[in-house]
C-alpha cells in the first residue's frame, strides 16, 4: 500500500492528564509523551502495547476527544486545531469503541444510534433519505431493516459491535480509529468482525488505526505495526517484519510472550521473560522508559530517551543499545 500518500500525520503528540494530589497540588500523568508517526491512505496501522501504555489515548487524542497537550495532528495536509477544522475532520475520521455494551445508548433504537452522526452533521435532507441511509449502513455490517427499530440490549455482543461500526461508517469516513474492537467478543464471533473490517476496507477504501492487545489479531489485520511502552513509541515496522524480526527488546519479549495456538510450537517457543511490572506512568523512569525491565539496559539508557529513528527502510526503533544487542 506504499504507493498511496500519507493521510494522517502525528507529530510529537503529547497528552498529559493532571492528577490531583490533594490541596492544590497536581502532577501531570504523561499518558502519551512525544509520539510521531504517519498513516498512509488505505492502510491499516496496528497499535499494540500493554494496558497503560497510552495506545487508547493516542487514538482519542488524534480525534481530539481529548485536547492534546502538545504536538500536531495533520490530516490530509491540514493541521487539526480550531473548531472549523475539527468539525470537518470529524466527518472524515470516526471511532469504533472497545465495549459494545457501554458504547451504545440503551434508550435509543438502532436506527437512531446509527443515524445520530447524520443528524449531527446534517447530512440528510429528509426522513426518507435518512431511513435509506440507515438501511444501507446496516446492510454494510450484515444487519437488516428488521433490526433497525430494536434496542441495543436485544443484540449479542458481536451484533452490537456491528451497530457501532455502522454508526462509525455513517458520515462516510475515510479514517477509523478502532479501539480494541474485537477484544470483548467471543472467539467464534471475533473472526466475523475482523473479516468485516477487511471487507469494508476493500469496499470503501478505508484507513484504519487498529488498537489492540491481541498480537495475532493485530498482525492479521495490519499492514504496519507500532509498539508502545509507557507513553512512548518504541518500534514501528511492516507487520511481517516486526513479527519475524522485532528489534526493540520490549517488542521481542512481547512477541515471544504470545501464546501460540499450536501445541508443538508453543512448547518449542523460547519466551523472553520480563521481570517485574510496568512502572506507573506517574513515576516513569528517567531516560528510556523500558530500562527498568530491560535485560540489556546500561547506564546510557538511564541518561536520555533514545531517539526514535529509522534503522532500516521503514523500520523505526528507539533503543540506545540496538547495535550491541544485535
Amino acid at each position: 500500500m506504499s504507493e498511496h500518500g500519507t493521510l494522517l500525520e502525528v507529530q510529537d503528540l503529547k497528552q498529559y492528564f493532571d492528577i490531583n494530589m490533594g490541596f492544590f497540588r497536581s502532577r501531570p500523568l504523561k499518558a502519551v509523551d512525544g509520539v510521531s508517526f504517519s498513516i498512509r491512505k488505505g492502510e491499516t496501522l496496528g497499535l499494540v502495547g500493554e494496558s497503560g501504555c497510552g495506545k487508547t489515548t493516542v487514538g482519542r487524542s488524534i480525534l481530539h476527544l481529548y485536547q492534546p497537550t502538545g504536538g500536531k495532528v495533520i490530516y490530509d495536509g491540514k493541521e487539526i486545531g480550531d473548531r472549523a477544522s475539527l468539525k470537518e475532520f470529524r466527518k472524515k475520521a470516526t471511532m469504533v469503541f472497545q465495549d459494545p455494551y457501554s458504547s451504545l445508548n440503551p434508550r435509543m433504537t438502532v436506527s437512531d444510534i446509527v443515524a445520530e452522526p447524520l443528524d449531527v452533521h446534517g447530512l440528510c435532507k429528509n426522513k426518507a433519505e435518512r431511513n435509506d441511509r440507515v438501511l444501507e449502513l446496516l446492510g454494510y455490517v450484515g444487519l437488516n431493516s428488521e433490526h433497525a427499530s430494536r434496542y441495543a440490549h436485544e443484540f449479542s455482543g458481536g451484533q452490537r459491535q456491528r451497530i457501532g461500526i455502522a454508526r462509525a461508517l455513517a458520515v462516510n469516513p475515510e479514517f477509523i480509529v478502532c479501539d480494541e474492537p474485537v477484544s470483548a467478543l467471543d472467539v467464534s464471533i471475533q473472526a466475523q468482525v475482523i473479516n468485516m473490517f477487511d471487507e469494508l476496507q476493500e469496499q470503501l477504501g478505508l484507513t484504519y488505526l487498529f488498537i489492540a492487545h491481541d498480537l495475532l489479531v493485530v498482525r492479521h489485520i495490519s499492514d504496519r505495526i507500532a509498539v508502545m511502552y509507557l507513553g512512548k513509541m518504541v518500534e514501528l515496522a511492516d507487520a511481517e517484519e516486526i513479527y519475524r524480526r522485532p528489534l526493540h527488546p520490549y517488542s521481542r519479549s512481547l512477541l515471544s510472550a504470545v501464546p501460540l495456538p499450536d501445541p508443538k510450537k508453543a512448547r518449542a517457543n523460547k519466551r523472553i521473560m520480563l521481570s517485574g511490572d510496568i512502572p506507573s506512568p506517574l513515576n516513569a523512569p528517567s531516560g528510556c522508559p523500558f530500562r527498568t525491565r530491560c535485560p540489556h539496559a546500561s547506564d546510557v539508557c538511564a541518561g536520555s530517551m533514545p531517539e526514535f529513528k529509522e534503522v532500516e527502510t521503514g523500520h523505526f526503533v528507539a533503543c540506545h543499545r540496538l547495535a550491541e544487542i544485535g
Binding site: E50, S51, S156, G158, Q159, D186, V187, S188, I189, Q190, A191, Q192, I194, N195, D198, H213, L215, L216, V217, R219, H220, S253, L254, S256, A257, V258, P259, L260, P261, D262, P263, K264, K265, A266, R267, N269, R271, M273, L274, G276, D277, I278
Partner: protein, 355 residues
C-alpha cells in the same frame, strides 16, 4: 508434602493405581431463573489424573466455569446440581455434607479466579488474608502460618515478601495480585488447582510470567490443574488434555495434540479455522457463522447444529453420542459417522435417509 495436615492420610488411601483423581460423570447443573431453567452444564463427564493439566475451552456461556464451580460446589444460590456425580479419589462429593465439602475446598481442590482485583478483600492486608486461609485449613498456629505465608510468597516470586504481607491489595499490580491468589490457593498443597481464566485480565508479558509460574509450580508440587480459558493459545501452551465445551456439553475431548492437529468435531474445527495463526498469511479468516447460543432456547439435537455448515438432518433432531475417534480422543459429532461411511469403513442402515 512433608508434615502436612490430617488430610494427607486420606489422600494415600484413595490413591489406588487405576482410580482417577477426579471423576465427573453425567453432571447436570442448572440455574433456576425467572425466565426458566438454564441448563448451564448438561451432561458433562471427564476424568482427571494426578499431575495432569486439563484445559476446558469454550465461549462465554458454554458452561466451562460452571463445571468447575460444580466440582467445588460454590454455585450461586439459584444454581443447583440436578444430577450426576463428582468423585474425588472415589469419594462422592455431590450430596456430601457441608463439613466434608469444607474439608475438600481449599485443602484438596483450590481455585483461582479470573479477576485478581475483586477476589481479594480490599479491607485486609495480604498477610492477614493469607494467614487466615492457612490457619483455617491447617493446624498451623498464627506464627507458623505467617512463616508459611512468607514461604508461599517467595515460591510465587513476589519480590519483597515481608513488605507485601503488610500491604493492601490496592497497593499491588494485577500480576502481583494474581501471584498472591496463587500463593493462597497453593498454601495447603491441594491435589487439584482450578484456574478460572487466570490470565485473561492480565497483559501479555505478565500472562507469560504467570503461566510459566503455574507450569513450574505444577512440576514442583505435582498437583493437577484444571485450566479454564477461552484462549486457545494458553491451552496449547499449558495443557496435556483438552475439553472443548459448547452450550453446556462437551463436544470433544482429547490430548492437546489430537484436538489441535486432528479436531473431530465441527465446532472445534470451526474454532481452529477462525483464529489468526502464527503462520498467518493475511488471508481471510473463516468465521463460524451465526450468533452464540441462547441457553433458554436450546435446539433439540446437537446444540451447535444451527451454526454448523455441515449439519445433517439427524443433527437437528438427535444429539450424537460420545464416539471414540482415536486413542483418548472422544467426539460427539455425527460427521465422524458420515465420514467413516463415506470412506466405506462402516455401512449405515438406511444410508442417507437422514441427510
Amino acid at each position: 508434602m512433608k508434615g502436612q495436615d490430617t488430610m494427607s492420610e486420606n489422600r494415600e488411601q484413595g490413591a489406588s493405581a487405576k482410580q482417577p483423581l477426579l471423576e465427573v460423570k453425567d453432571l447436570h447443573t442448572s440455574f433456576f431463573t425467572d425466565a426458566g431453567e438454564v441448563k448451564a452444564v448438561d451432561g458433562v463427564s471427564f476424568r482427571l489424573d494426578r499431575g495432569k493439566v486439563l484445559g476446558i475451552v469454550g465461549e462465554s456461556g458454554s458452561g466451562k466455569s460452571v463445571t468447575a464451580y460444580s466440582v467445588m460446589q460454590i454455585l450461586a444460590p439459584t444454581g443447583k446440581i440436578v444430577r450426576g456425580s463428582v468423585k474425588l479419589d472415589g469419594q462422592e462429593l455431590v450430596g456430601a455434607d457441608e463439613k466434608t465439602l469444607r474439608s475438600v475446598r481449599g485443602n484438596r481442590i483450590s481455585i483461582i479466579f479470573q479477576d485478581p482485583m475483586t477476589s481479594l478483600n480490599p479491607t485486609y492486608t495480604i498477610g492477614h488474608q493469607l494467614v487466615e486461609a492457612i490457619t483455617l485449613h491447617t493446624s498451623r498456629k498464627r506464627k507458623e502460618a505467617k512463616d508459611r505465608a512468607l514461604e508461599m510468597l517467595r515460591l510465587v516470586n513476589v519480590n519483597e515478601p515481608e513488605k507485601r504481607l503488610k500491604q493492601y491489595p490496592f497497593e499491588l499490580s494485577g500480576g502481583m495480585r494474581q501471584r498472591v491468589m496463587i500463593a493462597m490457593a497453593l498454601a495447603c498443597e491441594p491435589d487439584i488447582l482450578i484456574a478460572d481464566e487466570p490470565t485473561t485480565a492480565l497483559d501479555v508479558t505478565i500472562q507469560a510470567q504467570i503461566l510459566e509460574l503455574m507450569a513450574d509450580l505444577q512440576k514442583k508440587l505435582g498437583m493437577a490443574i484444571i485450566m479454564i480459558t477461552h484462549d486457545l493459545g494458553v491451552v496449547a501452551q499449558m495443557c496435556d488434555e483438552v475439553i472443548v465445551m459448547y452450550a453446556g456439553s462437551i463436544c470433544e475431548r482429547g490430548t492437546a495434540d489430537a484436538i489441535f492437529y486432528h479436531p473431530a468435531h465441527e465446532y472445534t474445527k470451526g474454532l481452529m479455522r477462525s483464529i489468526p495463526r502464527d503462520d498467518d498469511n493475511g488471508e481471510r479468516l473463516q468465521p463460524i457463522s451465526g450468533t452464540p447460543i441462547d441457553l433458554l432456547n436450546m435446539p433439540a439435537g446437537c446444540p451447535f447444529a444451527p451454526r454448523c455448515d455441515r449439519a445433517l438432518k439427524i443433527c437437528l433432531t438427535r444429539r450424537a453420542e460420545e464416539m471414540w475417534v482415536g486413542e483418548d480422543h472422544i467426539s460427539s459429532c455425527w460427521m465422524n459417522v458420515k465420514d467413516l461411511a463415506a470412506q466405506g469403513v462402516i455401512t449405515l442402515e438406511g444410508d442417507g435417509e437422514h441427510e
